[in-house]
């Protein structure tokens, strides 16, 4: 497998290889895809012309989404005096961008559900990292608050793709990593020719996530390599570590590469951060049920 490591591939070549390998391994010959409403929400999140009406039209195409957005709008956290009854009112209360986040999360959940127990654990982990990334963005002001949730949610989607493609291989790689035969990313590169962070970045790009957010996913285990996306990659890396601290890890032990150290938080700040993330995570889980 040295050929995969020795010659760095051009981004296009690597992208083509990730796609063709994952497609070849999947039962259907197709790559994991997001439900249509989520793709539409992602597009709207990037659309400067997006407005409440446009968003409401998309929400209405998906059974269950309207109810969910209304639930968030009427949740205690947003403190409305009169409950929102119309979707339009709910979207205005929640905010355009946050509504997009909720839609994407609700739809993405289906990708993980029912696949395997591991996939469902990964969903829990992904949601915790999304919430933690948002909270870290707010606390540290290193990146715009609105930009952290979705890359957090999708940071490990490459692992889901690996799991959906071949559970045995995913299990073997985890076993070897736990036995000290190498870091998981290294073992993934040996087997697939690329690691889960690369695969996740490429899938997220296919799904319409902004390129800089995809770069943060690509480098979430090596933030110093992320170029322009370095701050966000650092946030994702730290959010990953926070998720582990809250017992929402993707494996039993956190990988050596994830840490909150780069953020230089005081022990008191970190303790209160963990509390806030725990509360936000509980609320999200409750919401997405």
């Amino acid at each position: 497998m040295q050929e995969a490591l020795a010659t760095p591939l051009r981004h296009d070549d690597l992208q083509a290889r990730v796609r063709s390998t994952l497609a070849r391994l999947s039962q259907t010959g197709a790559l994991p895809s997001l439900p249509a409403a989520a793709s539409a929400a992602l597009a709207l999140a990037r659309d400067p012309e997006a407005d409440v009406d446009k968003l409401c039209r998309v929400i209405q195409t998906d059974v269950g989404l309207s109810a969910r957005v209304l639930r968030v709008a009427n949740s205690a956290a947003l403190g409305r005096r009169n409950p929102a009854r119309k979707l339009q009112e709910a979207v205005i209360t929640v905010g355009l961008r946050k509504t997009c986040d909720i839609m994407v999360a609700a739809c993405a959940k289906r990708l993980y559900e029912g696949a395997t127990a591991r996939a469902e654990e990964l969903w829990n982990h992904s949601l915790a990292v999304a919430v933690a990334a948002e909270e870290l963005a707010r606390t540290t002001r290193r990146v715009e608050v609105g930009s952290a949730f979705l890359p957090g949610l999708f940071h490990d989607v490459g692992r889901v793709a690996f799991l959906l493609a071949d559970e045995t291989a995913a299990e073997v790689i985890e076993g070897l990593a736990a036995d000290g035969d190498g870091a998981k990313s290294f073992l993934e590169r040996e087997w697939y020719g690329f690691d889960h962070a690369e695969a996740g970045a490429i899938l997220a790009e296919d799904w319409g996530l902004a390129l800089e957010l995809c770069d943060a996913i690509r480098w979430h285990h090596e933030p110093s390599e992320a170029g322009a996306a370095r701050e966000l990659a650092t946030i994702l890396n730290a959010a990953d570590a926070v998720a582990y601290k809250l017992g929402a890890g993707a494996t039993l032990e956190p990988p050596a590469s994830v840490t909150t150290a780069h953020l230089e938080l005081s022990p008191e700040d970190e303790a209160s951060l963990l509390e806030r993330v725990q509360a936000a995570w509980d609320a999200q889980r409750d919401l997405l049920g």
């Binding site: 497998m1 070849r24 010959g29 071949d166 291989a169 073997v172 040996e190 087997w191």
Partner: protein
């Protein structure tokens, strides 16, 4: 008991090989580079060597050369393991005499297909041939609505033999007689629903099943996939949509030879490969089969090939990538190719570096002549 030697510098690969060899109940010995592999082949005299291409100390190509030089090891069957990027190299190595190659990462199914050629099917896996053989050209539609049956029949009857059943019970009886390659089943039916029906059909044979469901019920999709449905078509459906899913399901269940029949032919003594005018899934499935066919053509002494793309409505990037791969593989094997394509496609293909210099003709006759 057979012995298999795995030669690969990656522990992940060796572990995966060991996992996938379990059903064969064989003894497994491992080596981490070519030199170790050659030494162990001499000591253990394995029944099969699984040999990685790129390794430190001595790579797979050199190791294969060593094995073939030595009288004690030259008869041992070798299957090469290669990374996706190393396929071209394998075609070259294949000339040194290997029994097959497996592209990494691989799944159980692909692995077993190659390995069973040497070791035979794993114990307990082989079902009697008659019990699972299905007719890839036939489809059975099961729905309690006569209207849906009529629509489905209209959509499919030009390309396949269509049978219909109005209940799960009726479907089982018809299935047992005709063994159609694809069964399209309505999930919601009185008495016996689509889930009970597929469970019975799976006991009788290995056909691909496509579920029919009412639009918008996402929970049913998951359940259907778990029950073993290969695809789900929502009602009301377009004729083309049903046809595409059924064709794909048919090719998924058919053996490579059955799939090939539609896309490999001969014209005036010259082999012809046709690219399918369907979604990329079929093309992705066909490419390795084309590759295999190419090698057997080369072994039989063929040095000409027509690639027919005349039936393509549009040229997708997958088609271009597939075509380039086919031409490259043919070139490596010393097979000359001509492309049969309408003018509009030729103009597009000439704009792409890899296909710009290929000989083109608008008819198969023309293509054949250009190869003379």
């Amino acid at each position: 008991m057979s012995t298999v030697l795995t030669v690969d510098d990656s522990k992940v690969v060796r572990t995966m090989v060991t996992r996938h060899l379990q059903p064969y109940g064989c003894t497994i010995v491992e080596a981490t580079n070519g030199q170790e592999g050659v030494d162990m082949a001499r000591t253990h005299k394995p029944d099969l060597v699984l040999l990685d291409v790129t390794m430190p100390v001595m790579d797979g190509r050199q190791a294969l050369g060593e094995l073939r030089k030595d009288d004690a090891t030259k008869g041992i069957p070798v299957i090469m393991l290669t990374a996706e990027s190393g396929r071209d190299l394998v075609v070259e190595i294949a000339k040194l005499g290997v029994h097959g190659y497996i592209v990494k990462p691989f799944q159980q199914e692909t692995f077993e297909k190659e390995v069973s050629k040497v070791l035979g099917a794993p114990a307990g896996a082989a079902a009697p041939a008659g019990a699972t053989a299905v007719d890839p050209k036939a489809v059975l539609i099961v729905d309690d609505s006569e209207k849906v049956l009529a629509m489905a029949k209209a959509a499919l009857e030009q390309t396949m033999t269509v049978l219909t059943a109005t209940s799960g019970k009726d479907a089982i009886a018809q299935y047992a007689k005709a063994k159609p390659g694809v069964v399209v089943i309505d999930l919601v039916m009185p008495d016996m629903d689509g889930f009970a029906t597929i469970a019975e059909i799976q006991k009788l044979g290995k056909s691909s099943c496509v579920a029919l469901t009412v639009r918008g019920d996402a929970s049913l999709h998951e359940k259907a996939k778990k029950a073993g449905y290969a695809a789900i078509v929502e009602k009301p459906f377009q004729a083309g949509e049903l046809l595409e899913h059924v064709t794909q399901a048919a090719s998924a269940g058919a053996s490579p030879d059955d799939v090939l029949k539609d896309f490999v032919s001969e014209d005036g003594g010259c082999p012809v490969f046709s690219l399918p005018n369907q979604s990329s899934k079929l093309l992705i499935k066909l490419l390795p089969i084309f590759g295999k066919k190419l090698r057997s053509l080369a072994e039989d002494g063929n040095d000409k090939l027509i690639v027919d793309v005349a039936q393509l409505n549009e040229l997708t990037s997958e088609h271009v990538a597939g075509l380039v791969r086919l031409l490259t593989e043919a070139g490596t094997l010393g097979i000359k190719t001509a492309i049969c394509a309408p003018d509009a496609l030729v103009t597009k293909l000439r704009q792409i570096a890899e296909t710009k210099d290929a000989p083109y003709a608008s008819t198969r006759d023309g293509a054949r002549q250009s190869l003379q």
